[in-house]
Amino acid sequence: MNAPRTLFEKIWDAHVVADETIDTPAILYVDLHLVHEVTSPQAFSELRARGLKVRRPERTLATLDHSIPTLPPAANGERPYVTPEAKAQVTRLGANCHDFGIELHGWDSDQRGVVHVIGPELGATQPGMTIVCGDSHTSTHGAFGALAFGIGTTEVGHVLATQCLLQRRPKTLAIHVDGELPPGVGAKDLILHVIGEIGVNGGTGHVIEYCGSAIEALSMEARMTVCNMSIEAGARAGLIAPDATTFAWLKGRPRVPQGTAWDAAVAQWSALKTDAGAHYDREVRIDARKVKPTVTYGTHPGMAIALDAPVPAAHDALDQRALDYMHAVAGKPMQGTPVDVVFVGSCTNGRLPDLREAARVLRGRRVAKNVRMLVVPGSEAVRRAAEAEGLHEVFRSAGAEWRLPGCSMCIAMNGDMAKPGQLVVSTSNRNFEGRQGKGARTVLASPATAAASAVAGHVADPREYLKADVAEEQAA
């Protein structure tokens, strides 16, 4: 009988082309390579310089998301790029995809969107796969029981040319989340809470497997939110065993097997779970019942607390510097902090249920005076679905801007950014100094908290705005 294996080990073992030795890393096969405009041009240049082809163009999928404008084109069709360089970068990706035979979801595609939103939407992301992209939030795809992680541009070149990577096997970390999340508390609160517990470097060198009853109860979109932020704890990948929720979500999507092939695939995917008695290098337990609406108060995602909890005292001068940058005061909660900008979107929280969550708070209400709110759908498909439900009208009536899909203010390289000193409540993934614009201050939060903060004009508890919904959940 084979030794019990973790989910990670099963996927890893099935992708080893050559075993690792003391002297050399393993050669790991990549099933799906996602490409975007920012981290790929130098890799394509390398292939050109060496006269190489893309080994498996059909295992490569490209989109535009990072440096593209989210405002519509002018009457003459000209898109409002932030700089000529941004436009040139987008043009370059188009040329590279054309020359190397790669499918690109560009401006003319009704499936364009943030790379980590469209992979799953298209069914390109499937359980048991290895998936890489020149983007650290590739961990998102782990929600489907895929081993998915971010790579650098040199490695993008390796995968383009050989469909393989040189990798040392990482360690494993199990995060068990048991119990039920309280009403009004969601996946974003949970993952911020987890990172607050294990620290911004708590997962370094590890692949995280999220398990337990609270994880099993999450929707696919919520699982993506959780896995997305694995890298914010230093883990390159985070994954969740595929189950009936996963299969129901994927069924019928364009790139998944159809008919009897689908049944065979589900049978195979159903074996993708950690065996009883398998060993993890580390294990952490989290009680879901203790999670509250959670926000960040400092300058990395590990500085996270319940929004009504007092900001912890600084341990040292570096901590104090972070509090000073944020204008946070030890002993005072973040709740009540005045807000200038609210951003709902990104690969963390730019999917349809995220937009619904924000709209539930905003329906019949107004964004506070002096607060600017941007709502940016994660993809064209999300945009269409949201507009079909009238969510865009909810946002617009409330005074928020409804934009075209893209990374937008999460990475703030397309011109969507905050001004120095402004405080942004953001559903994105990073609150680093200057991440959302030079001198901008970021408070990470769930879509509900972001929307409540937009209405209140200060960091606000969404449960106050969802009383009817919360009461209903409690009754049920």
């Binding site: 920012v38 130098q42 983007d135 050989t162 911004v200 230093g234 200057g434």
Partner: protein
Amino acid sequence: MNPVTQVRSRTAVLRDENIDTDRIIPARFLTTTTREGLGKVCFNDWRHQADGSDNPAFPLNAPGAQGCAILVAGRNFGCGSSREHAPWALLDYGIQAVLCSEIADIFRSNSLKNGLLAIVVGEAEHRWLLDHPGIELTVDVREQTIVRPGAGSVRFELEPFARHCLLEGVDQLGFLQQHGDAIAAYEQRMGKAA
């Protein structure tokens, strides 16, 4: 990659912990399509004041830090975004080695592939280095040692393949291509052939 056998320089120190790759190079400078010339925007928003002049509070702007090729940084350097523009920018700025008690995975991998020595040192050694900016060090890849004049040397761990590639200037893409037959055999075996 050109071989890198050792780096000898005075050290410059950035005591901050969790220096992320957005701080090393802010995202708005990532619209480039080449690797070159990013040193001028390395640490851009930390290094410069609002009017574009040098920020006197940025440690690498101090006169003593000029020309230093070895950076000693606070714990968990290079966390966050996978952008390889971070090591490209550091190298172009003149940094050839980063010494730290903990370095984020993707940044370390990217750095070593570009000949930037991202070296993890022990906690005690790290504290000592943070407290002694400007000392002359030799980081020796072959011996896996950091040599301090008059204070002996300390050994560091380095993944054997990364060390081999640094010393010999091995082209990792070329190495992978040599395994083309094994890759094709894997694709056949697993039903993944084109």
